[in-house]
Structure formats: C-alpha cells, structure tokens
C-alpha cells in the first residue's frame, strides 16, 4: 500500500521554521543555523561524500510520486494572489518532477514547470487532496512536504504513515514547531527508530 510520508529537518528545540517568513527569508528569522546543516548535507551528496545524513536525505526522495504542501510553503504571498507570476521558490525546474498539490483557498490555474513538476492549486478537503495525490502518484508514496500546519493537519487526521525527522543540534527559539498542536493524536505515533550521527539525530515515527 502506498504511504503518506513526512520528511523534515527541525532544530533541537523542535522548530521547522523561524518567525516572519518572507521572500528574502523563506524559513523566517533565526533559522540560518538549521539551513546551514541542510545545505552541508546537500553539498556532501553532490560531492559524493556518503554519510548517514546523506542516506537519510536520499531516503526522503525515494519512491515519492506526488507532493502536498501548504500555500505558505509554496510562496511568501498571503491572501488573494496579487502576482500569479510567482511559481514557487525552486526556479524554472523544481526538484519535485511530479504533481504537487498546493492547499489554498485562493485558486489559480495549474502551473506546468520544466522537468515534470506541475503545481495544482486546490481548496478540496485534505482527505480528498490526498486521494488526488495518491492517484497522481500511481502506486508510489505521497509526501506532505510542509509547512508545519499542513503536516499537523494530516497528522491530526491520522492520515500520515511515517514521519522522518532530522534533528540538528541548533537552537532556534521561536517560529513554527513541527510536532505541535497534535494533542491526543500524538499518542497515535511511536518513535520507531532513533539514530544518532555525528551531525544530527534521525527519528522515524510510525503509527501505533
């Protein structure tokens, strides 16, 4: 059965983004330390330096056939679209290479990018969007990419099968926590795997 998966990097104090996210600071303020760790792992991969962090990064991309994200992850604009020329943070050829479903009340036509990524904008309920994503993934898994409130919606609804977290040894202090606003749903997940590397801790949560 295809799964709904989360793969995210968080600070030691649990933040997936800092406060005041905006165009010149996509992850908000105070998040530089975390981003540096993420970039270091990407650089290790590009340079062919294998390590446990690169393994986890590659695992996050394997067998993903569609992506779901919140509108705030897609871009810095809030409210009605003032500028439909915005096509995401990722340049002309985004790294998804499949259908990406952007949850938003503010609809706009789908955007087909180079390399196989198409952004779909949808105001359907999250369960329905997941159905669409599974259909698009055609047997592969679906990843809910973020931001935190979107991940939490899917976790609270009990729809997430696996949450892979890379915890980096950096303090952020404020912003949006990934594992927050879960309430009782938190007890539906167990930490099935916890592995320390010299640079971080990798955890895998699965449903109880």
């Amino acid at each position: 059965m295809p799964k709904l998966r989360v793969h995210n990097t968080i600070s030691f104090d649990g933040f997936a983004a800092g406060p005041r996210q905006r165009e010149d600071a996509p992850f908000g303020d105070g998040f530089d330390g975390v981003q540096q760790r993420m970039l270091a792992t990407m650089a290790d991969r590009v340079k062919g330096r294998p390590n446990a962090d690169v393994d986890f990064l590659e695992r996050s991309e394997r067998n993903i056939g569609a992506t779901i994200m919140g509108r705030n992850m897609f871009g810095p604009q809030r409210g009605p679209w003032e500028d439909e020329s915005w096509t995401g943070w990722w340049g002309p050829e985004p790294p998804f290479h499949h259908d990406v479903f952007v949850l938003t009340r503010h609809l706009r036509p789908a955007v087909r990018m180079e390399g196989g990524t198409t952004f779909h904008f949808t105001d359907e309920p999250i369960e329905k969007v997941l159905e669409l994503a599974f259909a698009a993934a055609d047997g592969q898994d679906v990843r809910v990419a973020g931001g935190p409130s979107t991940v939490q919606q899917y976790m609270r609804a009990g729809l997430v099968d696996e949450v892979h977290l890379t915890v980096v040894p950096v303090m952020v202090g404020a912003g949006e926590r990934l594992l927050d606003n879960l309430g009782e749903a938190a007890h539906s997940y167990q930490v099935a795997e916890l592995v320390g590397t010299p640079a971080s801790v990798h955890a895998q949560l699965t449903r109880v």
Copy 2:
C-alpha cells in the same frame, strides 16, 4: 567556578510534563511513557546494569551542592498554603541531601528533612536565590531542577551554564515544554554534545 546546571528528561516532542499535574499524577496526563523510561534507567542503576543512560543519570547528580525548584515542582498545591504538612513528593528522606530553595510568593518556615535535605521557601528575585544557593553549595554546582517555567526563567536571564537533556523516544502531545518561551535567549545556547544510545538521545547545551 561553580556552575548552574539543568538535567532533565523530555519527550521526543519536547515536553517535560503533561497537562493537569496533580497529587495523583505529579507529571500530569499522558506522561507515563516518559516516566517508564526514567524508571527503567533508575532500575538499571539499582541493579548494577551499567549503560549510557545510567552514566548520564549519575552525571546529573555529581557535584551538586544545592537545588533550586519552582513551587509547582515541590507540590500540587497552588495559591496560599492550605496544608503545611506537605513536605514534597519525595517522602521523609528526599534524595537531595542538601539545601533546596523553593521559589514561591507564599512563604512558610524552612522544613528540615532526614538525610540532610532542607527546603527553604523564598520570594527573593531569581538572581538572589542563585546567590543563596551558591553559598549553600559551598563550592559545588547548583542544579535548577524544574519545572519548565523555572528553568526557562533562569535560561532567559542567561544564568544557566549547562543544560543536559535526555530525549526519550516517546510522544506526549501536550503539557509543558522545557525549551520554550526562550525567544532570543535560545541563541545564547549551543548544542555542544549530542549522543544517541539505544534508548534515548542525550544532549548538552552550553552557553555560546
């Protein structure tokens, strides 16, 4: 120089206690999984089964000459003391064996327990209480034991030298987080050490 140290066990999602702490649930609701891990480590120590978690537990008790705690850690009563016969959660011989300073606006006479523990109740500013504790510790370190809001007060004031955290692979979902309400002060701490054991992750934060 003697240090002010924090040693605490938190859930994977960062909680040091669950909601609704009360006499028959000192750590609140939903915290059983974390407590079981703490008790398992204590049992390993008593039974002489050395492991990394026992090492960290023993480190937390070494060279501590005085303890500071919030009133809510001392007991379940809130507001003015209705029952001064309450002498803490720890029975007639508490495991501190030194002076313990309880921060509270509701003063009462010091309570001398068996085994060298004396509970002092003080409404002095936290800096002054720390001075008193360092004097009582007579060259040893001081531990700020909890709860989370007391630890956070000392961290925000930049008075904590080391924070040792045992992160156990359990989700709690609600309650009081330890590393919360720190704001900018979070950036004054770095994760100097991060060690995974089969059962948990141990981190040491130090001041930048």
